[in-house]
Symmetry: C2
Subunit: 571 residues, 2 copies
């Protein structure tokens, strides 16, 4: 491709509202343009990268024996009512009426459509297991679209769905997809972790993993062990428990009541009493499935609501506001504590490990000190109710500790079980002729989001470093002066030779100053740059590695072989 005629406008400054580096760089380097909030056009460079991701995904899906189909964007909302998601999904589901006033949703995901399809097409165990996938544009009306392709309202996804005769079958389908995802992200050159996630939060009954690209801009938090390969998202990550017992032979002080007028928050307590947050027992009241419940964690910890839900086998949880607590006599809002509370009290392990702590006295303007869990708190409900923190022990191995990372969710595999097949009637006849419900899994990759993840992980202050597997072109060919006939002749010959060897080349044949060309080339981030300058006559060119900035002089006869070897080694 010759740059002179390529639809490619680079920008020196990034638009003011682009916060994420990947968003800024893809705008500046001419990969994408915004049409509306969260809605983007892919310019030629962006479209090329997107197609490379699509191709890798397609190859790995085919290798995993998934079958490609293409389902419609327009989905009759009757299906969403049948599955029960019509109301649950909320305003993220974009809806419209056709000319006959029939309501359609723009597919944000295709569980309803695929389950109905398979229900109609497959009725025997002989046709199972089967995994179907598509690469398709999805729509989700995000409340706050941002970060460019990271959180868009129209985006490209690969979604796959597996159908099995039983849970063992699902297990195989699941891990087959899991491994395909590992290969896909590895081939894309992404630094990622597969992390355990919580199924309950999505309403499933089975296992689930998220594939996270590590990046500071990421909106998800990952807890990963420094020693073993344990990794989970913050919702799911278990806390490694050292010992339930506090140290023995410690003399216990008597409980004492402190006058703490208007001191309600952890911060106020810390400041007023000159103590550490870890010396406080923090008690928060929740409404869990219409029941009021107290949860106690250490003052420096965060309560994990998903863990509370899972412990209680409940579905809904909200923090109890003052009105909800009005009828309960033992409660003084702002001064709640576990001592003497006439309610279910869920106590986190780390609280049990405290020798003594400070907590609300359930009386306005008073706190207790010297509370000892074993002596003073009802320990009927002890469990893991908090988020892990940096330096927590690993729940799996004995050596490691937990580090927290930010991550971008780029993939998700999920054991759905019978959630949709039950509601939409996807049954099959087993070998005895008995009708059984299909066991489903679903698997998603944010194809367009992968671009953002790659750029977040691969850039410097001057621009992008595309991995070779996804780069819009392999080589950026820069004749320094297009007014120099010799340079142009040499560049044209090399251009044709590289292309005839299957190497993708962008040639900057613009009549621009060398500085402009170098700046644009850094910004665009093609992995290898070949500079044709004054030594063109002697057949000498400069070969530059965009990422390492390593430069070497090379004879023009050796260039094609050199690039071919680099390409071959990257596979």
């Amino acid at each position: 491709m010759r740059q002179n005629k390529l639809l490619l406008t680079t920008l020196r400054e990034s638009p003011g509202d682009a916060e994420a580096m990947s968003h800024q760089l893809m705008l500046r380097a001419g990969f994408i343009r915004q049409l509306a909030a969260g809605v983007y056009t892919y310019l030629p460079l962006g479209r090329r990268v997107l197609r490379k991701v699509e191709q890798i995904v397609r190859e790995e899906m085919d290798l995993a024996h998934a079958q490609e189909i293409l389902m419609p964007t327009l989905q009759p909302t009757e299906l969403w009512k049948e599955s029960g998601r019509y109301d649950v999904y909320g305003p993220e589901l974009m809806r419209l009426y056709d000319r006959h006033d029939r309501e359609f949703a723009l597919g944000p995901t295709h569980e309803e459509v695929i389950t109905t399809l398979v229900h109609n097409e497959i009725n025997s165990y002989r046709k199972l297991p089967i995994t179907l996938y598509q690469i398709q544009t999805k729509f989700r009306d995000e409340r706050r679209p941002r970060y460019g392709l990271l959180r868009g309202r129209e985006f490209l996804m690969k979604d796959a769905y597996s159908f099995d005769v039983d849970w063992n079958g699902l297990d195989q389908s699941y891990w087959s997809m899991f491994k395909a995802y590992q290969r896909i992200f590895a081939r894309c050159g992404i630094n990622f972790r597969a992390v355990e996630a919580d199924a309950g939060a999505i309403g499933g009954e089975g296992e689930t993993h998220e594939f996270m690209a590590l990046a500071d801009i990421g909106e998800d938090t990952i807890a990963a062990c420094t020693s073993c390969d344990y990794a989970a998202n913050l919702e799911k990550a278990e806390v490694g428990i050292r010992s339930e017992k506090n140290e023995e032979n410690i003399k216990l002080d008597q409980i004492a009541k402190l006058y703490t007028p208007n001191i309600r928050t952890i911060d106020e307590l810390v400041e007023s009493l000159q103590i550490l947050p870890s010396e406080i027992m923090k008690t928060v009241m929740f409404i869990v499935d219409n029941q009021v419940v107290a949860v106690v964690v250490r003052g420096d910890h965060e309560i994990n609501e998903i863990k509370v839900l899972n412990y209680l086998g409940a579905k809904n949880i909200t923090i109890a506001n003052s009105e909800a607590l009005e009828g309960i006599s033992s409660i003084a809002v702002g001064f709640i504590g576990p001592y003497g509370l006439d309610l279910p009290v869920l106590v986190d392990h780390s609280v049990v490990q405290m020798n003594s702590g400070i907590a609300g006295a359930n009386e306005f303007d008073y706190h207790y000190q010297n509370l000892n869990p074993q002596r003073d708190i009802n320990l009927e409900h002890v469990g893991d109710f908090r988020n892990v923190t940096e330096q927590d022990s690993c729940p799996r191995c004995s050596e490691g500790i937990i580090n927290l990372h930010s991550g971008i969710e780029i993939g998700h595999v999920f054991k759905l079980g019978t959630k949709y097949s039950d509601k939409l009637g996807a049954k099959f006849l087993d070998s005895s002729g008995i009708a059984q419900t299909m066991i489903m899994g679903c698997y998603g990759i944010g194809v367009s989001r992968v671009l953002s993840a790659i750029v977040e992980q691969n850039h410097d202050e001057n621009g992008i470093h595309w991995p070779l597997s996804l780069a819009p072109f392999h080589v950026h060919l820069l004749p320094i002066s297009v007014k120099d006939d010799l340079q142009i002749q040499v560049a044209n010959e090399l251009y044709e030779r590289l292309i005839s060897h299957g190497i993708e080349v962008l040639m900057d044949d613009r009549d621009e100053r060398a500085g402009v060309k170098f700046k644009d080339s850094d910004l665009i981030g093609i992995p290898y740059r070949i500079i044709i300058g004054k030594d063109a006559g002697e057949g000498n060119i400069e070969f530059v590695n965009r990422r390492s900035q390593a430069k070497e002089m090379m004879h023009i006869q050796d260039v094609v072989e050199h690039v071919s070897v680099l390409l071959k080694n990257s596979h």
Copy 2:
């Protein structure tokens, strides 16, 4: 691919509402399934064919130096208001509101978005000409979706747009796309004609051609010369004129008034007077841009409203109803004729050529006979105002006559000129630094519609004949009995060998009777079939050509070479 696990259910009967043969066959052979009216899922076989069409389109677009981009489906309707199409497009434009009550359209076409994009990205003649394309799902809320993929509401299109500095440039861009379209449809194996179409009907100022696949189900009529390569759609097709003069030395009879009570239509006249329709002068009243106009054609001809519009340089035309004609004293509805009509009268050439004719007398219950055009009709406005008919002379060559064909529109190229660039401000600075408006062309291919066209043209009573270039697989491998270990072993070995040579194979490894396998194979329509039966032990197989039904026995060692040659020869 092994058929046992492929998502492929064939149907013995076609659903009752499938009228078109392509629709029936693609449903029965398991290529597509309907989700809602005009909204289809592509099953694995259908998706494979669709991807092959996409690939051919992409290769030819790239060869023509068009650059691939991807624009959003969601288009802010502000853009449609700017271009003036928001109201014009009508209910075919699907509209919705996002959570912030901002209105969006689901793109049925992308002139507004691309013109705005190019307006923002390109401001100099140096970056022109440029042609951009995308392959993307489009939405059009058809009043009456039908014929499967032929007239859907959600469908795949390739749309391209060219931007030039002047009309000469557009001419080059246009013919470059035209030639690419010829190559694309030829590679797809379609029997097509590129026909002249009328630009005025779409509001453009330039040339336009439609690419028509010849097929009886087609909703368009094409007039093509039997001798030269003239072809045009019915709206546009010119009538070849022999001579304006009627025969000389014919004795002219006097005009006579006939009492024809309640005889109003051509059919009634023909029956009552025992004459031919071609002896009648048919006069129809129109409102053209608020003016009442009479158009006279021969009784066996159809008036072409587009030609009337173009002759008058007008924009809107409707047939005048009785109310619209009430004020005009000289008119008696049902008995209108050209003689003595005090209005503009447009007379078709074929009327002028009549020696004598019968027409309404502009008086209730009366007609005239012996009307002679030269003597009795105001011939101020003589022109081509009718549709061509079979047997008309060719307007281009002296030998040919016109034949009419039905066609499916599969592509369209169109010189837009400045229609959108004017309204959306797409200007560039020319080499003198003066702002000029870009000259645009637009070019569309109905990618999913190509599938219907192919099947309409390539089938017999038993199923589809896919052309090799688009077939879901090249070879259908049929071991007759999967219970015969030897057959299965031979089939498996051949399967692997074919695949290792890049040949796409579907193996019917189902435990079904031979008759079922043959029936399904005929229905699906893979070009070559290899049958492995009782002679497998001796290494003999049967090789069948689906289209010709030609069968030959072949040694298994020769099969791979044979298929490879067939594949190579097809390119």
